[in-house]
Symmetry: C2
């Protein structure tokens, strides 16, 4: 009997949670953001829920110290420590192809793969902010095309470096040779962006190649994902957008000559779990009420090209002009229209939804109703799994692990224990 | 009563040990070189011995796979894991100022400092091999002066980034601000080598500034050390060379307007400990016997400008011309002359001494005789401590910790337990 297709789950770790006001909540652990044990405990919770992986985004600048949501520990160092506090869960780190050299990236990821016994993953990003560029020697970010051209070559070099050690290169023959020089080969890469001789100075790691993730939404991002990613982080507020993205990216994967089923597409997912729907909404409302209103309204005015300052906070959002009449950035406005159409939120609830993961799918309800929604996306061609973005840590993650995961397991959608050892195996990706 | 001046001890971790043939020894753990638990256990052994720190050197290329002595795990990731397996011992990593950006270096070190609760140290190196340059986009290494000019600016930027967060910047006031923007300040650095706006995206770490180490032997290296290092790794085969170096570098530290007593000078130290002098020599001879003879003799011929291929391996080294008549590189030849004069070794023993740490001090004997030698260097103005380079791991470290450390403790030269929490405090350096 062929194994039934299984759902995949990542926990996206971020500060006190993905809601912009999470740190203000009495249950947030904001005092522990530089404490590695905080992140270890979150990873252990996700591991208790048999998640495929935990995932760190990353950035290279400080934006608004007063408002929170800053970076704290650097992900490669943090995940190396967390590797020793966990046993099976994957450890995915974001590494920027614009600010690292491919040798550093390949080496540190291979090292993390050794330290974790084959659980390392790499979310390739090109970074975006000029403030980040100005921390790494550039006056501004290179243009989008340039960044993606560099990213594509960066990934090729990293893959070549990981392949520069044959799996059986180490002989460790005390009376003979340490490693077979014929199995540790330079790569002599000379490209548009990089000069890298190799070989890597880390022997081949348990996964051979740490698992590649990509989250690009642009044409070039999707093509890079199609060509090399084994996991894809997506953004979709509703099932229809998810299906459109899913179809498009799977088509591109097939177009790149790869097995589309072997690539896991995971939209971001914000969940509020309650024993009743009302309790779930109350959890969201509690966080939404902590948002600094003036600032959020000003941002909404910017997003909608409306003066929202006179809007009644606890009344439904007034009608907005259709997308076709909107002259600003389309993506965000489209998401706002979809949120309004799907949820009919109050102004404050809309601000809260935007403040928790922005345009990502938001499911609010009982464990059963959320499992229903997940199943609908999973079987409806919208997702192979989800990148869970708990609005507040640790509570929203604990809720999901203790309440939703058992329902998914009962339905046969999700593993009840780890049956595999490496992240690539968890994702059912072919060995590399 | 003023505290009596205390000795400082680092354990220099390197593969199977510092003897070139260590991996060939039956007691080596060569099969575990990619196993993080191996390094954790070594750090725990050093911590049992109350060492100030463990230390990783680093390199960015693979030289001779057949001969061993390769790099395995990347130090920043490895030490982050090791931080969680230890409680008090310092964790010093080498980071190259030629291949990193100062933002990456400052950030990862600050992260390690958080993860370890204030135990991070940074050995600043400029790297040296063209093979390393060709892994990071350069056809060859920049010239020595250029590298040191970059290193000096690199350190200044890193220090400024660490200082970009005031210690009390984080308010974490749930009803107010997250961090006080006035206490998280950009650095707006525009120098010859770097453009870095800052601030760092990691809040001020427990030590404020991770502890700086330097090992430069050149003029520029000594000056950089004098200006900013809190610990200095030195190379001296005998006490006289150690005293010369010690005097020179302490003079430079005072010249830079700093307190010379607050900077710990630690020559490398290779030890063979036995319950008798004979047993200690037998331990060395066992390792020396594992050296591939032809290769070592060829190297010795190169170092001495002699044809050594006809020398009797187990006879004393024949007389060599004085330094004044030698036309090759002086430093290495001078060391060879000193080894011959001090130890009257056989040819094989000379090869072994050169194969274990090269020109570093080598002490062979009982715990008491080695403690005597250490005391002589320590009280004789040659060292404030030592960077221990065990010829073979774990045995030579275990011997030192279990046999020599108790003698040093009994003599009141070394701590019997950790009385301080951070690496800077262990080193009795002033807070930064």
């Amino acid at each position: 009997m062929a194994a039934r297709k299984q759902l995949h789950l990542n926990a996206f770790l971020f500060a006190c949670g993905h809601h912009g006001a999470a740190w203000r909540h009495p249950a947030s652990q904001v005092e522990r953001l530089t404490d590695i044990a905080y992140y270890e405990e979150l990873a252990q919770t996700a591991e208790r829920g048999c998640f495929d992986a935990v995932f760190f985004a990353d950035g290279h600048s400080v934006r608004d110290p007063a408002a929170g949501g800053l970076w704290f520990l650097e992900p490669l160092t943090a995940l190396s420590a967390m590797a020793r506090a966990t046993e099976r869960i994957g450890l995915v780190t974001t590494v920027s192809s614009t600010f690292y050299t491919p040798f550093h990236a390949a080496r540190m990821l291979a090292s993390l793969d050794h330290i974790s016994g084959g659980r390392a993953g790499w979310n390739v990003v090109t970074s975006m902010f000029d403030a980040e560029a100005r921390n790494h020697g550039l006056e501004e970010m290179p243009p989008h095309d340039e960044r993606y051209s560099r990213a594509a070559e960066f990934v090729d070099v990293a893959l070549a470096l990981w392949d520069s050690w044959d799996a059986d290169a180490l002989e460790l023959d005390r009376g003979g040779v340490f490693a077979d020089p014929a199995k540790v080969a330079p790569i002599h890469h000379r490209g548009k962006h990089f000069l890298v001789d190799g070989p890597l100075n880390v022997p081949r790691s348990p996964q051979g190649r740490p698992v590649l993730f990509q989250a690009g939404a642009s044409e070039q991002g999707r093509d890079l994902a199609a060509r090399c990613a084994e996991g894809i982080y997506a953004v979709a507020y509703d099932l229809e957008s998810a299906q459109n993205y899913y179809r498009d990216v799977k088509r591109r994967i097939r177009g790149a000559g790869r097995d589309a089923d072997a690539v896991t597409v995971m939209p971001g997912l914000v969940t509020y779990v309650g024993s009743t729907t009302e309790e779930a909404h109350r959890k969201k409302a509690e966080l939404d009420a902590l948002l600094p209103v003036e600032q959020s309204i000003a941002q909404l005015s910017l997003f909608t090209h409306q003066d929202c300052s006179e809007w009644e906070l606890d009344a439904p959002v007034p009608d907005l002009p259709p997308l076709s009449e909107f002259t600003g950035p389309q993506g965000r406005y489209d998401t706002i229209l979809r949120i309004i159409e799907k949820d009919r939120p109050t102004v404050r609830a809309l601000l809260g939804t935007l403040a928790a993961g922005g345009g990502h799918c938001t499911m609010i309800g009982t464990p059963e109703s959320i499992a229903d929604d997940i199943e609908r996306w999973f079987h409806g061609g919208g997702a192979d799994g989800f990148n869970l973005m708990p609005p507040i840590y640790p509570d929203a993650l604990t809720d999901f692990v203790d309440e939703v995961v058992p329902v998914l397991q009962k339905r046969g959608l999700f593993r009840t224990e780890y049956e595999t050892a490496t992240l690539r195996e968890h994702l059912s990706s072919p060995p590399q």
